[in-house]
């Protein structure tokens, strides 16, 4: 466990990415831009995940003769778990994006538009 707030630069970056992504999703009406927005949100999330596991003074989380992970009872290594989580998250994000793009293409074929405001049926 690392006091992740020390990495404020990366944290700000991650938050900014999420914010930018949300802004894109909320303001753009083009389906592809929305998908891009979602993707940016995903990137922000991934950045956040790796950020919480790392800070400048930590050592790598591999136990060798020279690399002591614990000093005076304090963990000083980077946390390895989030780094495995981020792989999963990236894969999931990829899958979602692929599916979203496939659906977007189909939507363009069937509805003839990429404007999300027009993707609806007559009777609500």
């Amino acid at each position: 466990m690392v006091d992740f707030l020390q990495n404020w630069v990366y944290l700000t970056g991650a938050m900014a990415l999420v914010g930018i992504g949300l802004y894109i999703v909320l303001t753009n009406t083009n389906i592809f831009r929305i998908i891009v927005g979602l993707n940016i949100i995903d990137s922000g999330t991934n950045l956040f995940i790796v950020t919480i596991a790392w800070h400048p003074k930590s050592v790598m989380p591999i136990y060798t003769a020279t690399n002591n992970l614990v000093v005076n009872g304090h963990v000083i290594s980077a946390d390895p778990l989030p780094q495995s989580l981020v792989l999963t998250a990236i894969v999931i994000g990829l899958g979602t994006t692929a599916l979203a793009l496939a659906i977007a293409v189909k939507i363009y074929q069937k509805y003839g538009t990429l404007d999300v405001r027009k993707i609806k049926e007559g009777d609500r």
């Binding site: 466990m1 929305i34 946390d79 778990l81 989030p82 998250a89 899958g95 659906i103």
Partner: protein, 505 residues
């Protein structure tokens, strides 16, 4: 701690079979469909075995690493009842699909369906909050694809809306999980639950809000449920049945697993750690959902959309039940969840049969269904009456328990239950209106609807089950009570069953 590692098959088999379906698909499309039936039959009977031989509660330990370090599945009474429910509804829908899925990419449809059901079963049995995220994404992606299936273009629109809202929801969930991780350094539910009070409460509150917001998307709570009407209406009927009968179950499960087991602070009525009581927040969301869902359904003339809105409202009821926080409330919640899944899935399936005979979805098209098919009319009526909580049908008991729990809680829940009952009157109006259209009017044409055997089986099974629960509520009652115990007594009911040595704080 009891372990029963064979139960890993519950999650493994459907996923394995799902990805091997294309192989079977090379041989025959029919075979692919039958594989889903067989797999889900296996799941269902395995679940029944666990239930009837009373093997639960137990853990499944992966690779001999004991929790909290290893990943584990925890199958307690709550998970058991949901596994049986999910696999039963899934089995029935897969039998229905033998008849209904006959155009388009049948093989991949079967794949996605099996993946969805398998993912849902994993979702309710895993003991790790990040694995919950993974299973949510598995069910999520398969359900986006399922929702987009079908010849009509509205399926695509619905699927896309679901995808966007759901992605944002799962991102919020992930953020919440990570915030908890930064505080406690663990992802195991049991350990977090035991140590939750060690965290800074401000961050905890923030994480809790993110988690509720993220999970409310799947649990169909307002204002995170915008996707519901479009997606349910757009998808083909078996998919709507799947989403409402299985998907929402998973959503609600996770929401209250997080709130009551992870965040829960035991007491007379479970509340949560942190600065604000998330249970109360969910109760407010639930009430809003019930009212908005029912009122929107009231003015709806499209029966399928009406069912979608009603689905939303019913999930609100479930959420209110759990959010009461007492044993009785959780009992009512579980019971209502079971009744709603069965009844709503059945009604979507019935609608599917009706639509396949060229009758529209509009309420006017339901006119005189009694003369065309008494079977469908009676079963649809059974479903509606069960949802309305009328006796002889399962829903009666859950609504009964829900009101009982709210009144026992007292305080502002009296107000909540008043709103809920008012909304129920509204619900009664629109359901009985459909039933009225079915019963009263002479149809324009009197072509009889011949229901073939494979779609009839699930409908008959569902109706019998609804009536069986209605007459003998103890079928669900006993295990629901255990599930309620698991939820409301988090140390005794959950944590100590997973990590017997842990010390609670």
């Amino acid at each position: 701690m009891k372990t029963y590692n064979l139960a890993a098959l519950l999650v493994g088999v459907p996923l394995l079979m799902a990805f091997s379906i294309p192989l079977f698909g090379f041989i025959s499309k029919q075979l692919a469909k039958w594989i889903t039936v067989l797999t889900l039959g296996f799941e269902f009977f395995f679940g029944l075995y666990i239930f009837l031989w009373h093997i639960y509660p137990f853990n499944v330990i992966m690779g001999n690493w004991l929790p909290p370090f290893g990943e584990n599945l925890y199958i307690g009474p709550f998970a058991t009842v949901l596994i049986i429910l999910i696999s039963f509804v899934g089995l029935m829908i897969s039998i229905y699909n033998l008849w209904s899925a006959n155009h388009g990419d049948v093989v991949h449809f079967a794949l996605l369906f099996l993946m969805f059901v398998g993912g849902s079963i994993g979702l309710v049995s895993t003991g790790d909050i990040f694995n919950i995220f993974i299973f949510m994404e598995i069910t999520g992606i398969s359900s986006f694809a399922l929702a987009a299936y079908g010849p009509e273009r509205r399926a695509l629109g619905g699927a896309f809306k679901y995808l966007v809202v759901s992605s944002i929801g799962s991102t919020l969930y992930l953020f919440g999980v990570l915030l908890i991780y930064t505080q406690l350094g663990t992802l195991n539910i049991a350990e977090i639950a035991a140590r939750i009070s060690q965290t800074t409460s401000g961050l905890l509150t923030f994480a809790g809000i993110l988690l509720v917001a993220g999970l409310a998307v799947e649990a169909e709570l307002f204002p995170f449920n915008g996707w519901v009407p479009d997606t349910y209406t757009g998808a083909v009927n078996p998919v709507s049945a799947t989403l409402s009968g299985i998907g929402s179950v998973g959503g609600v499960y996770v929401l209250f697993r997080i709130l009551m087991t992870v965040f829960g602070k035991d007491g007379n009525f479970v509340s949560t750690y942190g600065n604000i009581d998330l249970m109360a927040l969910v109760a407010i969301l639930g009430s809003a959902t019930v009212v908005i869902g029912e009122l929107s359904a009231l003015v709806q003339k499209n029966v399928k959309k009406m069912l979608a809105y009603s689905s939303m409202a019913q999930m609100g009821l479930v959420a209110i039940g759990f959010s009461i926080g007492s044993k009785m409330g959780s009992y009512a919640g579980v019971f209502q969840l079971v009744n709603h899944s069965i009844a709503k899935a059945m009604m979507f399936l019935i609608l599917g049969i009706i639509v396949s005979f060229g009758i529209g979805e509009h309420i006017e098209d339901m006119k005189g269904l009694w003369y065309k098919s008494p079977f469908l009319t009676v079963t649809f009526t059974i479903g509606s009456l069960s949802l309305l909580g009328l006796p002889l049908f399962g829903g009666f008991w859950s609504k009964f328990a829900l009101v009982d729990a709210s009144i026992q809680r007292g305080g502002w829940y009296d107000f909540v239950i008043a709103i809920v009952l008012f909304a129920s009157v509204v619900e009664a109006f629109y359901y009985l209106r459909i039933v009225g259209y079915m019963f009263t009017s002479k149809p324009t044409s009197t072509d009889k609807i011949k229901v073939s055997i494979s779609p009839a089986v699930p409908i008959v099974a569902f109706s019998i089950l609804i009536i069986a629960i209605g007459v003998f509520p103890q079928i669900v009652g006993g295990i629901s009570w255990n599930a309620a115990h698991e939820l409301t007594d988090k140390m005794g009911g959950y944590v100590l069953n997973v990590i017997p040595t842990i010390v609670g704080h």
